[in-house]
Assembly symmetry: C2
Homo-oligomer: 430 residues x 2
Amino acid sequence: MADMAIASTQDADAIRAEIRAMGRAAKAATARLATTPPEAKTRALRAAAAAIRADQADILAENAKDMAFGKAKGLTPALLDRLELNPARIEAMAQGLDDIAELPDPVGAVTAEWTRPNGLRIARVRTPLGVIGVIYESRPNVTADAGALCLKAGNAVILRGGSESIHSSTRIADCLRAGLREAGLPEDAVQIVRTRDRAAVGALLTEPEFIDVIVPRGGKSLIQRVMDEARVPVFAHLEGLCHVYLHTAADPRKAQEIAWNAKMRRTGVCGSAETLLVDRAVAGVLIPPIAARLIEAGCEIRGDEVVRALVPEAVPATEQDWLTEYLDAILSIRVVDGLDAAIAHIERYGSHHTDSIVTEDQAAADAFLKRVDSAIVMHNASTQFADGGEFGMGAEIGISTGRMHARGPVGAEQLTSFKYVVRGTGQTRP
Amino acid sequence: MADMAIASTQDADAIRAEIRAMGRAAKAATARLATTPPEAKTRALRAAAAAIRADQADILAENAKDMAFGKAKGLTPALLDRLELNPARIEAMAQGLDDIAELPDPVGAVTAEWTRPNGLRIARVRTPLGVIGVIYESRPNVTADAGALCLKAGNAVILRGGSESIHSSTRIADCLRAGLREAGLPEDAVQIVRTRDRAAVGALLTEPEFIDVIVPRGGKSLIQRVMDEARVPVFAHLEGLCHVYLHTAADPRKAQEIAWNAKMRRTGVCGSAETLLVDRAVAGVLIPPIAARLIEAGCEIRGDEVVRALVPEAVPATEQDWLTEYLDAILSIRVVDGLDAAIAHIERYGSHHTDSIVTEDQAAADAFLKRVDSAIVMHNASTQFADGGEFGMGAEIGISTGRMHARGPVGAEQLTSFKYVVRGTGQTRP
């Protein structure tokens, strides 16, 4: 694979054959990785970090090719910024690898253990998941983050970055492979697709024999395509349509700080709030100061009739607004009649990502936390905490709103499977 | 749904519309079930058990219709036996419901809990999985078992039994619904497809909006169809091609008892052994007595050259034998050169279900348990222990060889999802 040229062939059959060959090599690598001692994986990750630092000039040179390609293609300044590497960003990538190296090794951990009356001792033990396909867009640093996290959990990974970042990503992947080599591990544990042809994505999504799970990282259209076409499980969320609900018994200061932070800390992340729900009894007190601060900062307010009566600058919110993940400095605000109405709104319009209640009433908080069926439910905290790092997982490959296997932030532990180990002394079944 | 006649229509669109309507009703039921206190589910299960006992005569009458249909259709005696109910089998079904009622409720259990430096308290809490579709064949008792286990974990279930058992299964499902009614729970938490048309299976497999997971119960052709066509996750195993490996340091008595039990206790279950691997150094001592006892009991032996030299009655084993789940009184035996060769054989030919090593050498056992990548790996125990009841799970809906979410025996706990509950005191993210 290593010397395959970056190609733009249109031959879908050849691309599928190449993906299958990568899948086979990845499967072979997993057999060795599964029983690799933790120290070897740590060594590989540290060596990869060192390679990234040592190869900074090369990586920057490859990134310059991508930037030239991106400019010629007319990428927006925002996309070019995501694509661009500089010494600080390269150091951050290397540091990320060192951080992942330091995380506890999830493989081999015993998550349950019991003894049966007949003396059989049963343990449930974490194992690697297998081969993970990661499909992402322009950020080259995903190559290092995702590759390292998969490796930490003993998985092989097949990376497929955006076509704009192919030179940078390939060079970074080479550093990960160098780290594996140095630690005496199979370098095909990290492979990267070296063609810009989109047929490679289609092939990755439809080879359940070789790929155990797909993690897409990127915008909604990428995620939607992956979810529609995948014949393998997908860890992802399509949208983060998060809510903050200000209950009648909300502390006004907490309400204001959490509403502000949930919307404005960063508006483009999946954990940013899109809709603020406010109990009718406290709408008149809470909404005006919150809206004033947001408007002052350039945030647009879209509200129902009650909100517009309280906030003259607010524009009318339509049904479509409750369904929209703005990922921008826009907040829809709706007045509701209590907990049941708030939960009903969230269940109807939300995306089961992250939702928060602000209240000093413990019973109301408990009911909200129990009844709202989202991957993350919060009490008196900002939805922007929806993040593997903030959860203490060290790093995350993404956030999943699926109900199976991985839900919420997906860190190294969530990239594992498990098996049952049964120890006997000659037991036979009656 | 309740008064829809048992039909054999060929209108696939109407069937799909019906399945979607059932899915919608099931989703609505889950919203209430998710927050149902454990006592209500226990009450529903006990009431269902009582209804099954009270309605014994009715159930037998419906079963007589199925038996007449089955005989007219020319079902084999074995299949007719699976289909047939009698008072003892009906009581066993009711007792099964009472047993599941007694199991600990998995919903709401906190499986991890930690506090972040900023004071956020994070808990991972079990929640129901959602709507489970169960597709099975002729045994009517699966209706009660699977329905009850899904309900225990707070899930709604859509049952689709075999066309031969439709009268019996429908009547049993009515008892489960009566139990739900009596406990004040939504009866659409248990629904059964009331058409024999196979288009219903196709519809169940391809409605990810309404069905969260499919559990197929039956023969290989059913499982294969489900795996091929499903657009939703599947908990299943296609085959149980289980191995017993007799290591050089095997205790001869344990070796003989485990080999015998793993093959002969019941030959038609997924945990029965199909291939015996024996280290060359001990083949001459171990194989003859084991084979003699098996042959005496009517078991056919297929072996490699070494085996045939030791066992004159053995027929030659072909490559195909190593790949075959006999589910019958046939055992293939192969002589191997040590642990690595045994593991290589299992990885190449096995189905990642259950594999056991017999040895007194702890290091060899540990290596086998670590390196064999199967849902269940055993040391000095019979593979026939591969069963949720034997694992102490109380009951199982099946055994999964998938690597995601559910692996090994699937009991009530494995039919749950989880969410993260974050409790703060006003934290915002820097």
